[in-house]
């Protein structure tokens, strides 16, 4: 293990010269230290939009968000406006939302159903497969004009697993399942939320904070912060609802829960060993009494308990690099980088059209619980970090060393690194992958 030098004697790293490969190794150290500029330098952020969000797989949407032929949804991939469209035959493509004529955004509607998109500027129209269908006043274009070269830019790679649709601008990216690797097992567990045909993903709420996107990604794999950042919730819950509820299982460092690093930036916190019943552990949400009683009367104790446990979002934090956290079965968040110091997070929920409405009502209220009470303090902390890192150049390093040099970390036969739940094992792994992506020279591209 590398010696940790006294803070003040550490050499100042050379400034980022050209934002090209080879410029980043000194920013992520094997002793768990990450340089502050990784969170504050606009040139590094630009390179991330190209090499991270353009260089590997990025989560786009769940297929149930665009269930019918010709459904589409507009999203953002590393700041790029993208239309994810299902064509008449059911095939899903990701199209750059940019007219090939002069660059106008061609679709402003967030979500809908359309066979074609017509540009508002000069009327060029494109099919939902990206093909340029018609050019207006076409006689003005000579024989050298190649219509086929003017299709909407298409992501070269789209793959999905269990309805989770991923896209990549790197044509040479490894197959999705290979990239997921051992993270797939937890992802498959989360798919238990989709076992009935009536399961569909809907948008919940979205939030924006003034901090770098990686602070959110780090935080979702960090259970060290829970008893401190979320102390207000813990205290309120204990005072009003008694022990054993909500975040009580993070009060001690000595738990059967683990943090895991799966490779390719993916990490997870597995809370399931400490949560026998998510429903019993949940803080009372509006409707708890009326709806749990209705489920018990209508379906019997055992089935009711199954339904009730489906409503409470606890179990795992599976963070798929770079832009997604699956938080238990039936909900996930997507991170959207806006600027080096601005991030949007969209929350999604699985509504079960074929489950009793009581299940959905309780689930809706449960998702508002931690989002309303917990995210606020997280965001506040992110903004405080961003402020300090951007304004104090003399203090260069952020410390992710917890767990290093102890016997709490082990590597399994499958390469999965497992650590104590409060250790920064997963975050360190994610920064190793970040460095790998940033040091490559992938040329993100689109098909026309």
């Amino acid at each position: 293990m590398t010696d940790i030098q006294p803070l003040l004697r550490r050499p100042v790293p050379p400034p980022l010269k050209d934002g090209k490969s080879g410029s980043f190794g000194h920013l992520v150290r094997p002793d768990g230290m990450v340089h502050r500029t990784v969170f504050t330098d606009p040139a590094i952020f630009e390179r991330e939009m190209s090499q991270v969000f353009g260089g590997t797989w990025v989560f786009l949407l769940h297929a149930t968000e665009i269930p019918h032929p010709n459904d589409f949804k507009c999203i953002t991939v590393g700041r790029r406006p993208v239309i994810v469209a299902r064509d008449a035959n059911g095939e899903i493509r990701a199209l750059m939302n940019r007219c090939t004529h002069r660059g106008t955004t061609v679709c402003l509607q967030q979500q809908g159903n359309a066979k074609r998109f017509q540009c508002a500027y000069h009327g060029w129209s494109f099919s939902n497969t990206g093909e340029l269908l018609a050019v207006t006043f076409a006689e003005g274009y000579g024989p050298g004009f190649d219509k086929a070269a003017h299709n909407l830019g298409r992501f070269p790679r789209i793959e999905s697993h269990g309805g989770y649709v991923f896209g990549s601008l790197n044509p040479d990216v490894e197959p999705l399942l290979e990239w997921l690797g051992p993270a797939r097992a937890l992802m498959d567990w989360s798919l238990t939320a989709f076992t009935t045909p009536g399961a569909r993903v809907v948008r919940a709420s979205s939030m924006v904070f003034a901090a770098n996107w990686k602070l959110q990604n780090d935080n979702n794999g960090d259970m060290y912060h829970v008893p401190f950042t979320h102390r207000s919730i813990a205290q309120m819950t204990a005072e009003r609802h008694g022990a054993g509820k909500a975040l009580d299982h993070f009060r001690s460092d000595n738990t059967p829960m683990v943090v895991q690093y799966f490779g390719h930036g993916h990490k997870a916190i597995d809370q399931r060993p400490s949560i026998p019943s998510p429903w019993e552990r949940a803080r009372p949400v509006p409707g708890r009494e009326v709806y749990s009683e209705a489920l018990q009367t209508g379906f019997g104790a055992e089935q009711a308990q199954h339904y009730l446990n489906m409503t409470a979002r606890a179990g795992i934090n599976l963070i798929l690099y770079p832009n997604m956290i699956i938080s238990g079965a039936g909900s996930y968040n997507v991170y959207e980088p806006v600027a080096v110091d601005k991030t949007i997070v969209h929350s999604y929920s699985v509504v079960l059209d074929d489950a009793p409405v009581e299940v959905n009502a309780l689930k809706s209220r449960f998702l508002e619980d931690f989002a309303g009470f917990g995210y606020r303090d997280d965001n506040e902390i992110f903004e405080r970090i961003q402020h300090s890192l951007s304004t104090i150049p003399e203090m260069e390093w952020v410390d992710f060393s917890k767990g290093l040099g102890t016997d709490r970390e082990s590597v399994g036969a499958d390469g999965v690194v497992t650590g104590a739940v409060s250790d920064e094992t997963g975050i360190r792994g994610a920064y190793r992958y970040w460095l790998e992506l940033m040091e490559r020279d992938v040329h993100p591209c689109v098909l026309t």
Binding site: V202, I233, V285, Y291, S349, V357, A361, R376, D377
Partner: protein, 199 residues
């Protein structure tokens, strides 16, 4: 433990009234207050206007016990995240509280450890265009008003514009109380800033 934390609510309010009927009522209120059928509205009168103003003042002054006393025992407050009226049972919003969860929110504010409110936001609520009407079917008065919450915190001032819909009933003691309240921010279906004060 801080003095504020010591005053935390001891008896937890009942939440055993949130059912399909109450959810349907919230949806109806939102539709009614924004739909084309709304007629017979008059400028909010002295008593109703005073309730709206008093509630705004108590929130601005962070007098939470007094604020909660403006609500019925079986009240609901909904802050949706959807652009148009939607069944709240199928939609996760910004929040939808019963009286118990309103109490949770107050206890969080008083815990002394709510970092996102350390220091607390200073707020001023501006209510304008207040109209009221009688909902004959529900036998109550409903009011709607445009709302801007001005918030100052950590050197920055921002505005939260929107409107609110309030269902008013008269208590047996004769005072007017809020039974249901819906707050719709203009940016409700867009990314929200980090509010942490009670809306």
């Amino acid at each position: 433990m801080s003095g504020a934390a010591m005053q935390a609510t001891t008896a937890v309010e009942s939440g055993a009234y949130v059912n399909d009927v109450r959810y349907a009522r919230l949806l109806t209120l939102w539709e009614q207050a924004t739909g084309p059928q709304l007629a017979g509205t008059v400028p909010a009168d002295g008593e109703v206007a005073q309730l709206l103003f008093r509630e705004a003042r108590l929130l601005d002054e962070r007098l939470y016990d007094e604020w909660l006393a403006q609500y019925t025992a079986q009240c609901m407050v909904w802050v949706p995240a959807q652009p148009d009226p939607v069944d709240p049972r199928l939609a996760t919003g910004i929040y939808l509280d019963d009286r118990r969860r309103m109490g949770d929110r107050i206890a969080m504010m008083r815990s002394g450890h709510l970092h996102a409110q350390t220091p607390p936001s200073r707020t001023r609520r501006m209510l304008t265009n207040a109209e009221q009407w009688v909902d004959v079917q529900a036998d109550c008065i409903v009011a709607r008003a445009n709302l801007v919450i001005w918030e100052h915190r950590k050197g920055q001032t921002r505005a939260w514009p929107g409107y609110q819909v309030v269902e008013v009933t008269r208590s047996t003691a004769g005072s007017m109380l809020i039974a249901n309240k819906i707050i719709c921010f203009l940016e409700r279906d867009a990314p929200q800033g980090n509010y942490a004060f009670i809306l």
